[in-house]
Protein backbone atom coordinates (compact mmCIF):
# COMPACT_ATOMS: atom_id res chain seq x y z
CA UNK A 1 0.00 0.00 0.00
CA UNK A 2 2.67 2.49 1.03
CA UNK A 3 4.62 1.56 -2.06
CA UNK A 4 1.69 2.55 -4.29
CA UNK A 5 1.30 5.87 -2.48
CA UNK A 6 5.01 6.53 -2.90
CA UNK A 7 4.79 5.94 -6.65
CA UNK A 8 1.74 8.20 -6.82
CA UNK A 9 3.51 10.98 -4.93
CA UNK A 10 6.59 10.63 -7.13
CA UNK A 11 4.36 10.89 -10.21
CA UNK A 12 2.72 14.04 -8.87
CA UNK A 13 6.09 15.66 -8.17
CA UNK A 14 7.45 14.75 -11.60
CA UNK A 15 4.33 16.06 -13.37
CA UNK A 16 4.55 19.29 -11.38
CA UNK A 17 8.22 19.63 -12.27
CA UNK A 18 7.50 19.08 -15.95
CA UNK A 19 4.87 21.84 -15.96
CA UNK A 20 7.21 24.22 -14.14
CA UNK A 21 9.89 23.55 -16.77
CA UNK A 22 7.37 24.11 -19.59
CA UNK A 23 6.40 27.43 -18.02
CA UNK A 24 10.02 28.56 -17.91
CA UNK A 25 10.61 27.29 -21.45
CA UNK A 26 7.62 29.32 -22.64
CA UNK A 27 9.17 32.39 -21.07
CA UNK A 28 12.21 31.84 -23.30
CA UNK A 29 10.42 30.72 -26.46
CA UNK A 30 7.41 32.99 -26.98
CA UNK A 31 8.23 35.97 -29.21
CA UNK A 32 6.09 38.83 -27.85
CA UNK A 33 6.28 40.36 -24.40
CA UNK A 34 2.56 39.97 -23.65
CA UNK A 35 2.73 36.32 -24.75
CA UNK A 36 5.58 35.65 -22.36
CA UNK A 37 3.37 36.84 -19.52
CA UNK A 38 1.05 33.85 -20.08
CA UNK A 39 3.65 31.14 -19.59
CA UNK A 40 4.64 31.69 -15.95
CA UNK A 41 1.17 32.72 -14.73
CA UNK A 42 -0.43 29.53 -15.94
CA UNK A 43 1.84 26.67 -16.77
CA UNK A 44 3.37 26.94 -13.30
CA UNK A 45 0.18 26.85 -11.17
CA UNK A 46 -0.10 23.11 -11.79
CA UNK A 47 3.57 22.79 -10.83
CA UNK A 48 2.97 24.36 -7.44
CA UNK A 49 -0.45 22.71 -7.07
CA UNK A 50 0.71 19.13 -7.57
CA UNK A 51 3.63 19.66 -5.17
CA UNK A 52 1.13 20.88 -2.56
CA UNK A 53 -1.21 17.91 -3.11
CA UNK A 54 1.76 15.56 -2.85
CA UNK A 55 2.76 17.22 0.43
CA UNK A 56 -0.75 16.84 1.88
CA UNK A 57 -0.96 13.16 0.93
CA UNK A 58 2.53 12.52 2.30
CA UNK A 59 1.68 13.91 5.74
CA UNK A 60 -1.67 12.11 5.75
CA UNK A 61 -0.27 8.68 4.87
CA UNK A 62 3.23 8.63 6.36
CA UNK A 63 2.93 10.97 9.35
CA UNK A 64 -0.70 10.24 10.15
CA UNK A 65 -1.80 13.85 10.45
CA UNK A 66 -3.61 16.30 8.23
CA UNK A 67 -1.52 19.26 7.13
CA UNK A 68 -3.47 22.42 6.42
CA UNK A 69 -0.66 24.78 5.39
CA UNK A 70 -0.98 23.67 1.78
CA UNK A 71 -4.54 24.99 1.59
CA UNK A 72 -3.32 28.39 2.76
CA UNK A 73 -0.52 28.40 0.19
CA UNK A 74 -3.13 27.66 -2.50
CA UNK A 75 -5.30 30.53 -1.22
CA UNK A 76 -2.41 33.01 -1.17
CA UNK A 77 -1.28 31.87 -4.62
CA UNK A 78 -4.76 32.47 -6.03
CA UNK A 79 -4.85 35.90 -4.41
CA UNK A 80 -1.41 37.07 -5.53
CA UNK A 81 -0.86 35.51 -8.98
CA UNK A 82 -3.57 37.53 -10.83
CA UNK A 83 -2.39 40.77 -9.20
CA UNK A 84 1.22 40.18 -10.23
CA UNK A 85 0.12 39.39 -13.79
CA UNK A 86 -2.02 42.53 -13.85
CA UNK A 87 0.88 44.69 -12.65
CA UNK A 88 3.16 43.33 -15.35
CA UNK A 89 0.46 43.84 -18.01
CA UNK A 90 -0.08 47.42 -16.82
CA UNK A 91 3.64 48.12 -17.01
CA UNK A 92 3.57 46.80 -20.58
CA UNK A 93 0.65 49.06 -21.46
CA UNK A 94 2.49 52.07 -20.10
CA UNK A 95 5.90 51.44 -21.55
CA UNK A 96 5.68 49.36 -24.71
CA UNK A 97 2.17 49.25 -26.15
CA UNK A 98 0.61 51.94 -28.24
CA UNK A 99 -2.96 53.02 -27.62
CA UNK A 100 -3.84 52.31 -31.28
CA UNK A 101 -3.02 48.60 -30.93
CA UNK A 102 -5.83 48.07 -28.45
CA UNK A 103 -9.46 47.48 -29.43
CA UNK A 104 -11.90 50.33 -28.65
CA UNK A 105 -13.78 50.02 -25.36
CA UNK A 106 -17.09 50.44 -27.19
CA UNK A 107 -18.65 52.49 -24.38
CA UNK A 108 -17.20 55.93 -25.09
CA UNK A 109 -14.59 56.14 -22.33
CA UNK A 110 -10.89 55.32 -22.66
CA UNK A 111 -9.02 52.37 -21.16
CA UNK A 112 -8.15 53.42 -17.62
CA UNK A 113 -4.40 53.31 -18.27
CA UNK A 114 -4.69 55.99 -20.97
CA UNK A 115 -7.48 58.08 -19.50
CA UNK A 116 -6.17 61.53 -18.49
CA UNK A 117 -8.92 61.75 -15.87
CA UNK A 118 -7.56 58.71 -14.06
CA UNK A 119 -4.58 60.24 -12.34
CA UNK A 120 -3.09 57.13 -10.83
CA UNK A 121 0.22 57.38 -12.70
CA UNK A 122 2.61 60.24 -12.29
CA UNK A 123 3.05 61.96 -15.69
CA UNK A 124 6.84 61.81 -15.59
CA UNK A 125 6.60 58.01 -15.62
CA UNK A 126 4.97 58.22 -19.05
CA UNK A 127 7.30 60.79 -20.62
CA UNK A 128 9.76 58.13 -21.81
CA UNK A 129 7.12 55.78 -23.20
CA UNK A 130 8.52 53.60 -25.94
CA UNK A 131 6.15 53.76 -28.94
CA UNK A 132 7.15 50.29 -30.25
Amino acid sequence: MEQIVEYFLAALLVIGGIFAVIGSYGLLKLPQMMQRLHAPTKATTIGVGSALIASMIYFLVFEGKISWHELLITLFLFLTAPITANFIAKAQLHRAINKDELPPTGVGSEWATYDPEVKTVDPHLLSDRDPG
Binding site: F19, I22, G23, Y25, G26, K29, L30, P31, Q32, M34, Q35, L37, H38, A39, T41, K42, A43, T45, I46, G49, K65, S67, W68, H69, L71, L72, F78, L79, A81, P82, I83, A85, N86, A89, K90, Q92, L93, E101, L102, P103, P104, T105, G106, V107, G108, S109, E110, W111, A112, T113, D115, E117, V118
Partner: protein, 163 residues
Protein backbone atom coordinates in the same frame (compact mmCIF):
# COMPACT_ATOMS: atom_id res chain seq x y z
CA UNK B 1 -25.85 42.53 20.62
CA UNK B 2 -24.29 39.66 18.72
CA UNK B 3 -24.54 41.74 15.56
CA UNK B 4 -22.61 44.57 17.21
CA UNK B 5 -19.89 42.26 18.49
CA UNK B 6 -19.54 40.55 15.09
CA UNK B 7 -20.36 43.18 12.47
CA UNK B 8 -18.91 41.08 9.65
CA UNK B 9 -19.59 37.37 10.34
CA UNK B 10 -17.88 36.18 7.15
CA UNK B 11 -14.69 38.10 7.91
CA UNK B 12 -14.75 36.69 11.45
CA UNK B 13 -15.10 33.16 10.10
CA UNK B 14 -12.34 33.72 7.53
CA UNK B 15 -9.91 35.08 10.14
CA UNK B 16 -10.72 32.24 12.53
CA UNK B 17 -10.16 29.54 9.89
CA UNK B 18 -7.00 31.22 8.56
CA UNK B 19 -5.46 31.43 12.02
CA UNK B 20 -6.27 27.79 12.77
CA UNK B 21 -4.77 26.75 9.42
CA UNK B 22 -1.63 28.78 10.10
CA UNK B 23 -1.13 27.08 13.47
CA UNK B 24 -1.63 23.74 11.67
CA UNK B 25 -2.54 21.75 14.78
CA UNK B 26 -5.41 21.83 17.20
CA UNK B 27 -4.60 23.38 20.59
CA UNK B 28 -6.91 25.13 23.04
CA UNK B 29 -4.48 28.05 23.26
CA UNK B 30 -4.54 28.74 19.54
CA UNK B 31 -8.33 28.33 19.53
CA UNK B 32 -8.60 31.12 22.08
CA UNK B 33 -6.12 33.26 20.14
CA UNK B 34 -8.12 32.67 16.95
CA UNK B 35 -11.31 33.73 18.71
CA UNK B 36 -9.68 36.91 20.04
CA UNK B 37 -8.27 37.83 16.62
CA UNK B 38 -11.50 36.99 14.80
CA UNK B 39 -13.40 39.25 17.19
CA UNK B 40 -10.94 42.14 17.41
CA UNK B 41 -9.85 42.57 13.80
CA UNK B 42 -13.36 43.06 12.30
CA UNK B 43 -14.19 45.55 15.08
CA UNK B 44 -10.96 47.51 14.62
CA UNK B 45 -11.10 47.57 10.82
CA UNK B 46 -14.84 48.30 10.53
CA UNK B 47 -14.26 51.94 9.37
CA UNK B 48 -12.33 50.66 6.33
CA UNK B 49 -15.23 48.76 4.75
CA UNK B 50 -18.31 50.98 4.75
CA UNK B 51 -19.91 49.18 1.81
CA UNK B 52 -19.02 45.56 2.26
CA UNK B 53 -19.95 43.14 -0.50
CA UNK B 54 -23.07 41.06 -0.01
CA UNK B 55 -22.40 37.40 -0.62
CA UNK B 56 -25.85 36.05 -1.33
CA UNK B 57 -25.05 32.50 -2.04
CA UNK B 58 -22.19 30.81 -0.20
CA UNK B 59 -22.66 27.27 -1.65
CA UNK B 60 -22.69 28.75 -5.16
CA UNK B 61 -19.41 30.52 -4.34
CA UNK B 62 -17.84 27.24 -3.21
CA UNK B 63 -19.06 25.60 -6.43
CA UNK B 64 -17.54 28.51 -8.37
CA UNK B 65 -14.14 27.97 -6.68
CA UNK B 66 -14.20 24.27 -7.64
CA UNK B 67 -15.11 25.17 -11.23
CA UNK B 68 -12.21 27.64 -11.42
CA UNK B 69 -9.75 25.11 -9.99
CA UNK B 70 -10.80 22.56 -12.60
CA UNK B 71 -10.45 25.20 -15.33
CA UNK B 72 -6.97 26.10 -14.04
CA UNK B 73 -5.88 22.50 -14.59
CA UNK B 74 -7.34 22.52 -18.11
CA UNK B 75 -5.71 25.92 -18.75
CA UNK B 76 -2.33 24.58 -17.71
CA UNK B 77 -2.53 21.74 -20.19
CA UNK B 78 -3.81 23.99 -22.99
CA UNK B 79 -1.06 26.58 -22.47
CA UNK B 80 1.59 23.87 -22.16
CA UNK B 81 0.48 22.43 -25.52
CA UNK B 82 0.65 25.85 -27.15
CA UNK B 83 4.14 26.45 -25.76
CA UNK B 84 5.45 23.02 -26.76
CA UNK B 85 3.79 22.30 -30.09
CA UNK B 86 3.10 25.61 -31.83
CA UNK B 87 5.64 27.67 -33.70
CA UNK B 88 5.96 31.28 -32.63
CA UNK B 89 4.41 32.64 -35.82
CA UNK B 90 1.40 30.30 -35.59
CA UNK B 91 0.28 31.68 -32.25
CA UNK B 92 -2.45 34.28 -32.81
CA UNK B 93 -2.41 36.52 -29.78
CA UNK B 94 -5.08 39.18 -29.53
CA UNK B 95 -6.35 41.98 -27.36
CA UNK B 96 -10.03 41.49 -26.60
CA UNK B 97 -12.52 43.92 -25.06
CA UNK B 98 -15.03 42.13 -22.83
CA UNK B 99 -18.11 44.17 -21.86
CA UNK B 100 -19.24 43.28 -18.32
CA UNK B 101 -22.56 43.69 -16.54
CA UNK B 102 -21.23 43.20 -13.00
CA UNK B 103 -21.43 46.31 -10.83
CA UNK B 104 -19.81 45.46 -7.49
CA UNK B 105 -16.02 46.08 -7.43
CA UNK B 106 -15.45 42.82 -5.55
CA UNK B 107 -17.30 40.79 -8.18
CA UNK B 108 -15.35 42.49 -10.98
CA UNK B 109 -12.07 41.82 -9.14
CA UNK B 110 -12.94 38.13 -8.82
CA UNK B 111 -13.91 37.96 -12.49
CA UNK B 112 -10.64 39.65 -13.52
CA UNK B 113 -8.67 37.27 -11.31
CA UNK B 114 -10.50 34.27 -12.73
CA UNK B 115 -9.76 35.40 -16.29
CA UNK B 116 -6.07 35.70 -15.44
CA UNK B 117 -5.92 32.22 -13.90
CA UNK B 118 -7.79 30.40 -16.71
CA UNK B 119 -7.27 29.37 -20.36
CA UNK B 120 -4.63 31.53 -22.02
CA UNK B 121 -6.08 34.89 -20.98
CA UNK B 122 -4.74 37.71 -18.82
CA UNK B 123 -6.72 40.72 -17.62
CA UNK B 124 -4.69 43.80 -18.49
CA UNK B 125 -6.88 46.84 -17.99
CA UNK B 126 -10.36 48.19 -17.52
CA UNK B 127 -12.23 51.04 -19.16
CA UNK B 128 -12.29 54.22 -17.10
CA UNK B 129 -16.03 53.80 -16.54
CA UNK B 130 -15.59 50.23 -15.27
CA UNK B 131 -17.88 48.55 -17.79
CA UNK B 132 -15.34 46.86 -20.09
CA UNK B 133 -12.34 44.65 -19.32
CA UNK B 134 -9.29 44.54 -21.57
CA UNK B 135 -7.87 41.05 -21.77
CA UNK B 136 -4.94 39.63 -23.69
CA UNK B 137 -5.36 36.15 -25.10
CA UNK B 138 -2.37 33.94 -25.87
CA UNK B 139 -4.06 32.09 -28.72
CA UNK B 140 -7.39 33.43 -29.97
CA UNK B 141 -8.44 32.21 -33.40
CA UNK B 142 -12.01 33.25 -32.49
CA UNK B 143 -12.09 36.20 -30.04
CA UNK B 144 -15.91 36.32 -29.97
CA UNK B 145 -16.03 32.76 -28.61
CA UNK B 146 -13.73 33.75 -25.75
CA UNK B 147 -15.98 36.70 -24.85
CA UNK B 148 -19.04 34.43 -24.85
CA UNK B 149 -17.21 31.82 -22.79
CA UNK B 150 -16.24 34.35 -20.10
CA UNK B 151 -19.76 35.79 -19.97
CA UNK B 152 -21.64 32.52 -19.73
CA UNK B 153 -19.16 30.45 -17.74
CA UNK B 154 -17.96 32.94 -15.11
CA UNK B 155 -19.88 36.19 -15.20
CA UNK B 156 -23.34 34.60 -15.10
CA UNK B 157 -22.34 32.61 -12.01
CA UNK B 158 -20.82 35.64 -10.28
CA UNK B 159 -23.99 37.63 -10.94
CA UNK B 160 -25.94 35.01 -9.02
CA UNK B 161 -23.40 34.98 -6.16
CA UNK B 162 -23.16 38.74 -5.58
CA UNK B 163 -26.33 40.66 -4.94
Amino acid sequence: MLRRLYPHPLLTLLLFVTWMLLVNQFKIGSLVMALILATAIPLLTAPYWPNRPKLRNLPAFAAYLLLVMWDVVIANIAVARIILFMRGDQIRSAWIAVPIDLKSPEAITILAGTITMTPGTVTADMSACGRVLLIHSLHAPDPEAIVQDIKTRYEARLKRIFA
